[in-house]
């Protein structure tokens, strides 16, 4: 037992020593989270604002003018032009000079009252689905639109109130999810590559002839990466707070507990990959194979509820999906880890299964 611990220590020290010398990997540990945060935080913006808008107000009544004023205030629409007819709006739209055209028919006031026909027509550039969805938000603008009840005293009676991210800032939504993506990428890739590299270089052939057991080897190689994962987490939270003012409303302990489980799941997955891949290149390919659906299907990029049933099923199989539920819950909704138990159970189960599979494959002898 004592010898086993000292062997484990030897492997951890060796791993850390090699990692320190491997400038590129070391740089990735720190650089990757920061660059991704900046990229996702600044460049990706799913709440579209300032859509170029023109309107044609054929009614020109008190109510219609108020509607336009309201629209301008929403910041979603950047009202640039005033047109005289719907035809002119269509032309602007076609030319790409506007994304939304607002047409207020002559009988606007009456339409609001009898609600038989839409009071306002939105001409939307549907070629970009994001714009379309934003424009859909405008439908809920207070003006007796479709089924929207027209409050008697009209404009401003119904308002859109987004919860948890009232300013609709993307980073608030992105950072908790990004933690999942960054940890998936680095944990899985680093572990897989670290082991496959040893196999490629022949180190493993040497090690299996020494008293080092496969369990000692596996655990010893994984420990430094657990620490790296924790470091990255702190880094992401720090940058998130500093640059994007992303809050951690819930308990930071809960967050680290969730992250530990998630890191364990990813390391186990990395180990599993390392037993399947025979070259570093293969290991990288397999990582991408898991990473891509983790980005697309986990709810990080697209709202999970909006995905087709089949994609949701696939998403449920990814640890990132469950981790993102945990981080968003803890960081934004102030939920406790216990309340979010389904995701915790899923992550734990995932880690256990992957680790068992990896260990059984890893300890296999050469034949």
């Amino acid at each position: 037992m004592k010898n086993s611990l000292s062997r484990l220590g030897a492997i951890v020290r060796k791993e850390v020593r090699q990692l320190r010398r491997d400038r590129l990997t070391f740089g990735m540990v720190v650089g990757l989270p920061i660059i991704q945060m900046l990229l996702f935080g600044y460049a990706i913006n799913t709440d579209v604002r300032n859509l170029k808008t023109a309107f044609a107000d054929e009614a020109d009544t008190h109510l219609s003018r108020e509607f336009i004023a309201n629209l301008k205030q929403s910041q979603v629409a950047d009202v640039r032009y005033r047109s005289s007819s719907p035809a002119e709006l269509e032309e602007l739209l076609r030319q790409g000079r506007i994304s939304i055209g607002v047409h207020i028919p002559r009988d606007f006031d009456r339409r609001i009252v009898d609600r038989e026909r839409a009071a306002v027509h939105l001409l939307v550039d549907g070629s970009d689905p994001t714009i379309l969805s934003v424009a859909n938000q405008l439908r809920s603008m207070p003006v007796g639109f479709d089924s929207t009840p027209p409050a008697a005293d009209s404009v401003g009676a119904v308002e859109v109130r987004p919860y948890y991210n009232p300013e609709r800032r993307t980073p608030v939504n992105i950072v908790p999810g990004l933690m999942g993506i960054i940890l998936t990428m680095t944990m899985m890739l680093f572990t897989a590559v670290a082991i496959v590299r040893e196999r490629e270089r022949g180190n493993l052939e040497l090690l299996i002839n020494t008293p080092v057991s496969s369990a000692e080897l596996m655990i010893g190689k994984v420990i430094p990466y657990i620490l790296i994962g924790m470091l990255q987490l702190a880094l992401i939270l720090g940058v998130g707070d500093l640059l994007f003012n992303v809050p951690v409303r819930g308990s930071i302990v809960d967050l680290y507990l969730a992250a530990s489980l998630f890191i364990a799941a990813n390391l186990a997955l990395g180990l599993l990959i390392s037993t399947l891949a025979s070259t570093q290149f293969q290991a990288m390919q397999m990582t991408v194979f898991i990473l891509l659906p983790s980005i697309l299907l986990s709810g990080f990029m697209f709202p999970f509820d909006g995905m087709p049933r089949f994609a949701q099923l696939l998403g449920e199989l990814l640890p990132t999906t469950h981790f993102i539920r945990l981080t968003r819950g803890i960081m934004l909704r102030e939920a406790g880890i216990v309340e979010l138990y389904p995701a915790v159970i899923a992550l734990a189960a995932f880690a256990a299964v992957a680790l068992t599979l990896a260990a059984s494959r890893f300890s296999k002898r050469l034949d």
Binding site: N3, A10, E205, L206, I208, N209, T210, P211, R365, L366
Partner: protein
């Protein structure tokens, strides 16, 4: 230390599916000797070594290594075996000192003596002034010395070397063997696989493997004396033409060209080997001479790995 042999194998076999990698191998490796495994690539050398150190489970047969049944208590065995791989397998991004330190740690070498032992090895294997050099930046010969130092750090009773000198120049190879003799002298049993004749020549004893079967076993001297073949050496101006000609002499089982020389093997049941060859050369009007020669290890190797149909003919 009471067992007579360091390694004893009886009818050891290993099959990979339908492929028979090692076929009923009997082996007796005496203690404190350098024992060579000679054979072409894929003859079962590595498979045998892996079975002996417990990495592969034999399909059938049994083996005892240092008195321990394999596969059995692999951990106990590994602590007494040193293993040096064909390819450099230490950590290129660590210094020589760090590599030795790592090996000392995983073999649980007594902490108090560690520093002294590492320095002793750096000294003995001429690496003292390269203590802080990254292992990956050294030459082939230096890497090999480091590998040997690491393999013997924990003072193993048995050293297994899998084609240790394949990436090394002749001078380094000579130095390397000098170190091996030192170790054998100090009581270490060494099993070394090789496909170099000059290395095989240096072993105390030798087994020649061919397609998983042991085809010869003995000291290099014994093997050379018992080939069962006459060796006729032909010196020719046009060795290529001479080879074609000699190949048709009745009784000749093998002709190997070495520069302008031909080594011709003829079973020793044939009385007049030189005359036969000379007559054929004369017939063909080639300027060449034929003389009887003593068998070298290369001839032994060719003789024992001959395809059976050729011998029968």
């Amino acid at each position: 230390m009471s067992e007579p042999c360091a390694i004893e194998a009886r009818a050891l076999s290993k099959h990979f599916g339908s492929l028979v990698a090692v076929d009923k191998l009997d082996l007796d490796v005496p203690r404190g000797r350098i024992y060579g495994f000679l054979g072409p690539n894929g003859c079962g050398k590595s498979t045998t070594i892996r079975m002996l150190c417990g990495l592969l489970t034999p399909t059938s047969g049994r083996a005892t290594v240092l008195g321990i049944e394999v596969p059995g208590d692999a951990a106990a065995l590994k602590a007494r075996i040193g293993y040096m791989t064909q390819k450099f397998s230490l950590f290129g991004d660590m210094t020589n000192y760090e590599n030795l330190q790592f090996i000392a740690e995983i073999y649980s070498y007594p902490r108090a003596d560690r520093e002294r032992r590492i320095n002793e090895l750096l000294e003995r294997y001429d690496l003292a002034d390269r203590r802080k050099q990254l292992a990956g930046t050294m030459s082939g010969g230096q890497k090999q010395r480091l590998a040997l130092a690491c393999a013997v750090l924990h003072k193993p009773d048995l050293l297994l070397l899998d084609e240790p000198t394949s990436a090394v120049d002749p001078q380094s190879r000579r130095d390397f063997w000098a170190k091996l003799f030192e170790l054998a002298e100090a009581g270490t049993t060494i099993l070394v696989s090789t496909h170099y004749m000059d290395e095989a020549e240096r072993c105390h004893r030798l087994a020649i493997l061919d397609r998983g079967v042991k085809v010869a076993d003995g000291t290099p001297q014994e093997l050379k004396e018992n080939t069962g073949m006459h060796v006729v050496e032909v010196l020719a101006d046009d060795p290529f033409a001479a080879q074609k000609l000699v190949d048709t002499v009745p009784g000749v089982v093998s002709v190997t060209q070495l520069g302008i020389r031909l080594r011709v093997l003829i079973p020793d049941s044939i009385e007049d080997p030189v005359e036969r060859v000379a007559a054929r050369l004369k017939q063909g009007n080639l300027a060449a001479s034929a003389t009887l020669s003593a068998a070298g290890l290369e001839d032994v190797f060719v003789a024992v790995t001959l395809k059976p149909e050729r011998v029968a003919a």
